[in-house]
Each structure stands twice: as structure tokens, then as C-alpha cells.
């Protein structure tokens, strides 16, 4: 069909070099020497003025990491990473931790302005922004500023960088850190445990509904640095929090490593909503450069009737290796995973989720939409399991893939494991290209091909977009458009 041919031609010419966040900022930085050793870890820990137990925790993880092998089971190919050729600590000079906005280097503020991230509280309050979002801005290895801290404090919500939390709320951190993703979990999580530099810490106490959306914005700026952030979110009984995460990096020829760990803990009747728009630099059209995004995200529905929902829009990164999961431990708990993964150019995505049903009457829902274009590889890998005692576990999974062009690949690898007769699992997956019927109906109504494809792709991902907070939904839709430019007007 000619319309389809046209699309394929368009996709062929796709220029993936349209990453608009690829600028680099010259800011004086302080770096630890390249490479990884116990000394570097001591250096990081000292920089952060951490207590002794934290250093021990890191060293333990490091020693274990040395005995581990890099995982090779994912459908991604990349040259071996030299973990000694990376800077594990880079911080804008003079930054020892987040402070008030007035003290932040104006150069840094400009970066976030350029990225469209609101950091100035007064502007937001003055109604420049439609709604209030508290932001924790992480630049390379450190958090440079956290906004609305005072206002959140009044509500009882603790929102600060994790380094700050280790100093100010050591008991809370000690109680929860590593309880969802233990230091022994996997190669990258263990590495992260040893060298994590910053990230966000959120604690919502009993009965509190967090008054605004919280968000962290990650930016890798320095060359040859790895970003290892650690996020820990705890919602106590009956608490609610919605958290957004965004990320970008400059355009560079070499690959950079991003290995984060995110831990969520929801106690009785609590709800955590975690949304990500991941837009790390994907590399150029020849597959040069880009971020290696090896992330461990896991939520623990520890309390009864608790709920954790992950929503992700993955458009960036050269390689994505990421499986936001839910452990449904509490009776009646619920896990949700909504994902859009768009790959173009030479990107490789191996992403999905795990829903581990342990408690009674737990339920989970997975909606995954993969769109592959260019010469990219897009894999959904997911696991749904019901344990012996997980009575009435319920899962619904839908994963659809859309292929644009004949040089890309879309793969689905679900693992379904039921050990309880009351479990009810449904899984369906489809792979297809844009339906010629749908396209035909649009064209017949005078909608040009490109607009029609955009319309169809938007319809394809709508279910997931709807789960995003408003501000993110708009950004996500735009991003998908940009990522597929040439094939979706």
C-alpha cells in the first residue's frame, strides 16, 4: 500500500539527531579521581559527611559487587563497560548540598530554565505555573536545590536529597534503605549501593496526603561520569504521594552510565504514584553515544490495601534495562504498571515489570505499549507470579507492540507463574504495524497520512498517557512525537 510505503520511507530518513536537551553547560566541577576503589567510596562518603554505618553499608556492597558478574540475559548488546574509566563523583564546585535558591549558582539555574524545569518558587506562586510542583534538582552527583521544602514541612512531608536525609533523618533512612532492593539484589543495584551519590528522599507520615506533586529532575552534565542516584519513598498508613521523575543529558559521542535504584514502600492503605519521563540522550543516528540506563526500581506494598503505580514513558537512552516492579505483600494491595517505550535509531530497550503476588486478594494490572522504529530493538520482559498463599491473586496484562519500518525488532517475553488455584491471570500481547484499515479510514476522511499516523499512534498509547499527571502527559505526548519524527508528523 502506497501510504505505508511512504511511512517507511519517512522513517528511513528519520534523523534522530534532534535531541533538544543535548546542550552542555560549562560549570566548574569537583570530581573524584576516575575509577572505583574502596578509597573512592570513602571519598564519596566523606564528601557527604555520612555516618559510619552508611560507609560500612557501601563498602559491604562494593565487596559483594566485586564477586558478581554482569547480567547478560537481556536482549541488549553493548561493548563491555570499563567500570574503572568512569568518574563516580562530580559536583558543581562549591555545592555541598541543597541550599536555598538564592545561593544556587545562576549558571545552574539557567540549565534548568533551559530544560523548562521550574525551580523558582515565587514564579510558581505568582501563577506563572499552573500548578505547584516541588522539585529536587540533581546535577551529576549532587542535589543542587529542593524547592518548597518549607511548605511541605508544614504538612509533615519530608522531601529532601538522600544525602541530606542520611544526615538529618538517619533513623528513617536506616530503617528503610535497602529493604526493597537489598544490596545483594543485582549487579547494578549492588554497584549503586556502593557508590550512589544523590537522589531524593520522601517521607509522607500517617494520614497525610502530600499537598503537591513531588518531582526530581536528573541531569548528567560532566563527561565520563556515571550517575548513580538513589531514591527512597515511604508512604505511611493512609498517606498519598505522587512523584515525577525526569531526566536529560548532553549529546556526547561516548556512552555514559546511569545506574539508579528506586525503592518505594507503601504501608497500610497508602498509595504511591511514580511517574517517569525518561529522556536521556539516545545517541546519534549512527548509534554513537547515548546513555546506558541500567535501573532497578521496585515498590513494596507492605501494608494492607496499599497501592503502588508505575507509569513510564521511555523515549531516551541508547540502552534501557529497567523493570519497575511491585511486591504485593499486604493483603488487598494493588500494583499497576503503565509503560510506553519508544525506540528509534539504534536504541535498544529491554524493559517491563514484575508483579509478585504474595498477599491475599492482591491485584495487578500491566499495560505496556512498545513502539519500535529505525533499527531499534524493543523488548517487553515481564513476570507475574502468584505464590502459594496468594489467594485470589488477579492480574491483567496487555502488551502491544507497534513496528514502524522493517529493520527494527519487537519482542515479548512474559513469565507467568501461578501457584494458587484461586489466581486468575490474563495475559495478551499483540504485535503489528499500523493497521491499514485504520489508516484507510482516516485518509478517506481527508486526514493526511502523517497526521493519521500520529493520530493512530496517540490512540495506541492513550491508555498509558491517561495515567500520567497532566503536566507530564503533555510533555510525554510531545516527546513521543519528537522521537518518532518523520513517521508521526
Amino acid at each position: 500500500m502506497p501510504a505505508v510505503q511512504e511511512t517507511i520511507d519517512q522513517v528511513r530518513q528519520i534523523d534522530v539527531d534532534q535531541y533538544k536537551y543535548g546542550f552542555e553547560t560549562t560549570i566548574e566541577v569537583e570530581k573524584a579521581p576516575k575509577g572505583l576503589s574502596e578509597d573512592i567510596i570513602r571519598f564519596i562518603s566523606a564528601k557527604k559527611s555520612e555516618p559510619e554505618w552508611m560507609l560500612e553499608w557501601r563498602l559491604d556492597a562494593y565487596r559483594r559487587w566485586l564477586t558478581m558478574d554482569e547480567p547478560t540475559w537481556a536482549r541488549v548488546n553493548y561493548p563491555k563497560i570499563d567500570f574503572n574509566d568512569i568518574y563516580y563523583y562530580a559536583a558543581p564546585k562549591g555545592t555541598t548540598g541543597p541550599k536555598s535558591l538564592d545561593e544556587v549558582d545562576p549558571e545552574l539555574l539557567k540549565v534548568y530554565e533551559k530544560l523548562g524545569i521550574p525551580l523558582k518558587e515565587q514564579e510558581m506562586l505568582a501563577g506563572v505555573q499552573k500548578s505547584k510542583i516541588a522539585v529536587d534538582a540533581v546535577f551529576d552527583s549532587v542535589s543542587v536545590v529542593t524547592t518548597f521544602k518549607e511548605e511541605l514541612k508544614k504538612a509533615g512531608v519530608i522531601f529532601m536529597s538522600i544525602s541530606e536525609a542520611i544526615r538529618e533523618h538517619p533513623d528513617l533512612v536506616k530503617k528503610y534503605l535497602g529493604t526493597v532492593v537489598p544490596t545483594t539484589d543485582n549487579y547494578y543495584a549492588t554497584l549503586n549501593s556502593a557508590v550512589f551519590t544523590d537522589g531524593s528522599f520522601v517521607f509522607v507520615p500517617k494520614g497525610v496526603r502530600c499537598p503537591m506533586e513531588l518531582s526530581t529532575y536528573f541531569r548528567i552534565n560532566e563527561k565520563n561520569t556515571g550517575q548513580f542516584e538513589r531514591t527512597l519513598i515511604i508512604a505511611e498508613d493512609n498517606a498519598y504521594v505522587s512523584y515525577l521523575e525526569g531526566c536529560t543529558a548532553p549529546q556526547r559521542d561516548e556512552n555514559q552510565l546511569h545506574a539508579a535504584v528506586v525503592e518505594l514502600i507503601a504501608l497500610d492503605e497508602a498509595e504511591i504514584k511514580y511517574s517517569t519521563v525518561q529522556n536521556w540522550y539516545p545517541g546519534d543516528k549512527h548509534g554513537k553515544g547515548g546513555i546506558y540506563n541500567f535501573v532497578t526500581k521496585r515498590g513494596d506494598c507492605r501494608g494492607k490495601n496499599s497501592k503502588i503505580s508505575w507509569t513510564q514513558v521511555e523515549t531516551g537512552s541508547a540502552i534501557t534495562w529497567k523493570y519497575p516492579s511491585c511486591i504485593l505483600r499486604g493483603d488487598g494491595s494493588r500494583g499497576e504498571f503503565y509503560s510506553i517505550a519508544v525506540s528509534n535509531g539504534h536504541q535498544q530497550i529491554d524493559s517491563g515489570t514484575k508483579m509478585i503476588h504474595l498477599g491475599k486478594n492482591t491485584s495487578s494490572r500491566i499495560v505496556s505499549k512498545g513502539i519500535a522504529a529505525g533499527v531499534s530493538e524493543n523488548t517487553y520482559r515481564g513476570q507475574v507470579s502468584a505464590h502459594r498463599k496468594a489467594e485470589n491473586a488477579r492480574n491483567f496484562t496487555q502488551c502491544d507492540s507497534l513496528l514502524i519500518g522493517d529493520k527494527c525488532g519487537a519482542h515479548t517475553v512474559p513469565y507467568i507463574e501461578a501457584k494458587n488455584s484461586t489466581a486468575q491471570f490474563e495475559h495478551e500481547a499483540t504485535t503489528s504495524k499500523i493497521s491499514e484499515d485504520q489508516l484507510f479510514y482516516c485518509l478517506q476522511r481527508g486526514i493526511p497520512t502523517e497526521a493519521a499516523i500520529a493520530l493512530i499512534v496517540n490512540g495506541f498509547v492513550k491508555e498509558v498517557i491517561q495515567e500520567l499527571p497532566m503536566e507530564f502527559a503533555v510533555e510525554a505526548q510531545k516527546l513521543i512525537g519528537i522521537s518518532l519524527e518523520g513517521s508521526v508528523g
Binding site: P414, I416, A418, S421, S432
Partner: protein, 425 residues
């Protein structure tokens, strides 16, 4: 973990290697055949049986599950049994030895596979499918007999051919290279039975090539004893416009792994897999399927129905691969499971691996208990619960049997199923 270290062989691994060493002078074939056998057994010795770290054996850790191997007993005797369907031509293989007595139907040439091992012509076919092909390895190392069938172009067989494998005890390793010529029509029943409760280990590889325009129905009916290990493999290759309807029933065995690996090599080829797994007791049954849609315009559908009772464990792994230029592929796979006991266990991994864009591929998987509303409706009509349950389970699997367009065959299979359900439900 360091995997480079030489493995410490398990009892079963030692027994398999020993079985080879003990029979080495006696196993048919020398020269090229012997050299392939040597390699395979050497690989078995160095790599060991697969563990769950080998992705294709993720849910069936053969190294742990296969605890012991019964010794081969060359003197064991097994009787022929009656054909499944009246009128079928029975090709009897007892305790691994093919019996060539009796007449072959017109157009069918039958040869003992042992002869092909002896004259070396079987050597090429003994190669494994990949480093994870443990069944190919065990079978290739130890195979003694089987049958080689050639069905001449244009042959249409009215009555089914029944390859009847009867086992009393010990081991049997058999192979069946079967080549269907162009435009042939035939139904083959591959039937695995045991005559007693004694333990046995079976490995069997059927290598099926379907010629242009041929329409073949191949039925695998596995009814081995409750102590038996069954390692089965079906390989197939479909030429242009060839149609293969593979029908699989597992209704026996303690440790069962049934692999199906096929590819479409000609446009217009169509493959249909229907599987019924009746699992009870302490059994572990794994059906692993891969299909390569290698050329454009080929179609396939797969439906697997599992019924899991008691402490049984069921596994279904299905992988559909669509090659780069295999446009217009249409592939659909479904795996539905009735999990009827809290001690039972079912794992499914339906995979799609797609490199062409103009395709329609999908898979579905469900796991659930009997629908309580359906049960309620039946009981409201005065049907006692156990009977109502039996009816619903029966309906769940019978649906697929009825797709076979052959009344005596449908009846025979249905009675196998109801007999099994009566015993276990």
C-alpha cells in the same frame, strides 16, 4: 558464580554416560555416527544436564529433576497393544526396537533406523539443535532404533499410521525421520505407552519434513506410566503450501519434557498446534515450542490447554520467531490453564520475537480455576458438584479435540481424556 569449573556429575548424568560406555561396542553405527555420538556424550559429560540457568530450561531444571536413570535392560519384553483407531496400520516399536513385520501401505517405504545408523546415513541428522538441546544430546548419544518413513509424492493414506512405542522398563532411545512427499495426505499417530508401573526413561526424536502442498495430521499421544521420564522432541520443516496439524496429548509420565521445534521454509505454509496437558499426581510436564516463520506469507496458530490437579507442575514455553523478511506472517498463540489445586503449579512463557513489520502476531495466556458462575448454573440444574466440575473440565479440553476432522479418531482421543479425568478428578 564460576561456571568454568568442571561440573560434579549427578547420579543421573553418571548413569547416562555409563550407559553409553557400557554399550559402546554394541550401539549401532561406527565411523561418522560413532564420532557424533562421542561428541554428544562428551558434551553431556562436560556441560551436564541443563539447569534453570539455561533459559530454555528455566522452569524444568533437568539436573535436579532427573534424579536417577533406570538401567537399560536389553532382555525386557513388551507386548503389542491394540491400535488406537480400528483400521490403522500399526508400526510397532517395543522397548526401543522396531518390528518391521507386516505390510506397509502403498506409497509408504519403511526402513529400520538402526540400518541408517549402521550404514552411516543417519549421522547428519544426529546433530543437536543448539547448545541447550539436551534431548538431542541424550538421544543422539544413545539412540538404537526407530523407523525411517518415506511417503511418496501424491500418496493419500485413508487410514492412520500408528507408530506404537510400548515400553515395559529400562531405557529406550528412538528416532523417526519421516518425509512426506509433495501433495501427500496422511494422519500419523505417535503413541507412547507403558505396559506396567516399572520405571523407564524414554527419549524420542521425530524429524518431520512436509513436502509441497502436503496435508499432514500428526498426533502425539503420551500415556506413559506414573514413574516414567519422557523426553520427546518433534522437529518439523514445512515446504511451500504445506500444512501440518500437530496434535499433542500428554496424559502420563512423571517427568515429561515435550519439545516441538519447527520452521516454515516455503510460502503459504500453515502450521497448527493443539495441545492438551492433563497433569496430576506429582508429575512435572513441560511443553516447549519454537517456530521460526522464516519466509513471507506463512501462518500458524497454537492453542494449549492445561488441566492441573494435585501437586502437579505444568510448564508451557512457546516462542514465535518472525525472520527479517517474513512479511505477512500471521501467528497466534494461546495458552489456557485450569489450575485446580492449591498445590499445583503452572508457569507459562509465551514469547514473540519479531523482526518484520508487516505481520500480525499475538499471544494470550490465562490461568484460572473453574468459573464459579458456570459451576453454579450447572448445579442449579441439579447436577452434583463433582459431576459439574468434570463436565466443565471436559468441555475445556474437548473443544480442541473436536477440531480433528476424523470421527473415530475424535472418539478414541475423547475416551482417553475421559478415562484420565475419571481417574484423577
Amino acid at each position: 558464580m564460576n561456571m568454568q569449573q568442571a561440573i560434579k556429575m549427578t547420579a543421573a548424568e553418571t548413569a547416562l554416560v555409563d550407559a553409553y560406555t557400557a554399550q559402546i561396542g554394541d550401539l549401532p553405527g561406527d565411523g561418522s555416527v560413532l564420532s557424533v555420538r562421542d561428541t554428544l556424550v562428551h558434551e553431556l559429560k562436560t556441560a551436564g544436564l541443563p539447569t534453570r540457568r539455561v533459559e530454555s530450561w528455566h522452569y524444568t531444571d533437568l539436573r535436579t529433576l532427573l534424579r536417577a536413570v533406570p538401567t537399560a535392560d536389553p532382555t525386557a519384553f513388551a507386548d503389542r497393544v491394540e491400535a488406537l483407531v480400528a483400521g490403522a496400520t500399526v508400526l510397532s516399536v517395543r522397548n526401543g526396537h522396531a518390528d518391521l513385520k507386516g505390510n506397509a501401505p502403498e506409497g509408504v517405504t519403511i526402513r529400520s533406523y538402526t540400518d541408517s545408523l549402521l550404514d552411516g546415513s543417519a549421522a547428519a541428522g544426529l546433530a543437536v539443535l543448539g547448545t541447550d538441546d539436551a534431548i538431542g544430546r541424550i538421544n543422539g548419544g544413545l539412540v538404537r532404533g526407530g523407523l525411517e518413513l518415506v511417503i511418496a509424492d501424491g500418496t493419500e493414506l485413508e487410514d492412520p499410521l500408528e507408530i506404537q512405542l510400548v515400553q515395559s522398563l529400562g531405557q529406550a532411545h528412538t528416532r523417526f525421520p519421516v518425509s512426506f512427499g509433495a501433495n501427500t495426505k496422511a494422519t500419523v499417530i505417535e503413541r507412547h505407552l507403558s505396559t506396567n508401573a516399572a520405571e523407564s526413561l524414554i527419549s524420542s526424536v521425530s524429524d518431520i519434513t512436509v513436502g509441497e502442498g502436503a496435508e499432514i495430521t500428526w498426533i502425539v499421544l503420551q500415556q506413559q506410566g506414573a514413574a516414567d521420564t519422557h523426553l520427546g522432541q518433534i522437529r518439523f520443516d514445512l515446504a511451500k503450501d504445506a500444512k501440518l496439524h500437530l496434535f499433542l496429548i500428554n496424559a502420563g509420565g512423571k517427568l515429561v519434557r515435550q519439545e516441538i521445534h519447527g520452521k516454515t521454509s516455503g510460502e503459504g505454509a500453515d502450521f497448527k498446534l493443539r495441545g492438551i496437558n492433563l497433569l496430576g499426581g506429582e508429575s512435572h510436564t513441560d511443553v516447549t515450542f519454537t517456530l521460526g516463520h522464516n519466509v513471507p506469507h506463512t501462518t500458524s496458530t497454537e492453542i494449549i490447554r492445561n488441566v492441573v490437579f494435585d501437586r502437579a507442575k505444568g510448564v508451557f514455553q512457546g516462542k514465535i520467531l518472525v525472520a527479517k523478511d517474513a512479511q505477512k506472517t500471521d501467528a497466534k498463540m494461546a495458552c489456557n490453564t485450569l489450575l485446580l489445586s492449591d498445590d499445583a503449579d503452572l508457569s507459562a512463557k509465551p514469547e514473540l520475537e519479531i523482526f518484520a513489520d508487516d505481520v500480525q502476531c499475538g499471544h494470550g495466556a490465562t490461568v484460572a480455576d473453574i468459573d464459579h458462575t458456570q459451576l453454579f448454573y450447572l448445579m442449579a440444574r441439579g447436577i452434583p458438584e463433582n459431576k459439574a466440575r468434570a463436565m466443565l473440565v471436559n468441555a475445556f479440553v474437548a473443544e480442541i479435540v473436536e477440531e480433528l476432522d476424523d470421527e473415530p479418531l475424535v472418539e478414541a482421543l475423547e475416551s482417553v481424556i475421559s478415562a484420565w479425568l475419571e481417574k484423577h478428578a
